[in-house]
Amino acid sequence: MDLAELWAIFGPGFSGAVFGTGWWFWVDAVVCSSIQVPFVHYLPGIFASLGALMFNCVRKEDIDYSPYDEGEWRLKLWLFIAYVVAFVSLAASVGLLIQDSVVKTGPSTWTGVAGVFQCVFVLISGLMYWTSHSE
């Protein structure tokens, strides 16, 4: 049994574990925060989950890599939009981390750090599921 076979067997479960880890980081930050976390801070995690869901709607066997044919441009456009959503959510979480560390009256720095961890873990789990999922 080679490594690709093992990855196809255990990859989806492991990506689920990474996804859960990301969201539990955020639950920990919200629970341990001494003040109310505003709803704006929830958005990067929600949009990262949405982005991961978006590029998992595309099966990797369907992508046409030919440089000559017009190919499935709608598929690639959808993947591009999913990438933009993922990138913007990650950038937003980093921005909120910087804001949390600079502003004293806002949430603590751990809230920003947990937000970045959440986005990173959620997006990594999406990638792992996409690469290991087989139809």
Binding site: G16, G20, T21, V27, C32
Partner: protein
């Protein structure tokens, strides 16, 4: 083994006089749900690559639920609501629970043969 897992759950509550660690037991209920819903009541699909999209989704949900069992004691400890000893007892309980699932899995696979 499952009884000793539940016993450790109750010990983690009784020794330290608070019942927050029982939240972990909720996740024990959630973990087998993908097996029952998508896998036909068997753990065969966890080590197979057949089955297609729904089986992979069931694996994903099983992984996510399993992490919850570990995350709840950590978050309770971080929020100063339980002691470190209770958290470690919770981890031991979860480990015994996983051993129980592995033994059940082995036994059911032997039944298939």
């Amino acid at each position: 083994m499952f009884s000793s897992s539940i016993l450790l759950q109750i010990l983690a509550c009784a020794i330290y006089g608070n019942w927050w660690p029982m939240l972990s037991a909720l996740m024990y209920v959630v973990v087998p749900m993908p097996c029952m819903f998508f896998g036909g009541g068997s753990t065969q699909f966890l080590i197979s690559r057949d089955g297609g999209g729904w089986i992979d989704a069931a694996k994903f949900l099983t992984g996510a639920s399993t992490v919850g069992s570990l995350a709840i004691p950590i978050i309770l400890r971080h929020a100063q609501m339980i002691e470190t000893g209770a958290m470690l007892i919770e981890f031991t309980s979860f480990f015994i629970f996983i051993c129980t699932v592995m033994c059940f899995h082995r036994a059911s696979l032997d039944d298939d043969w």
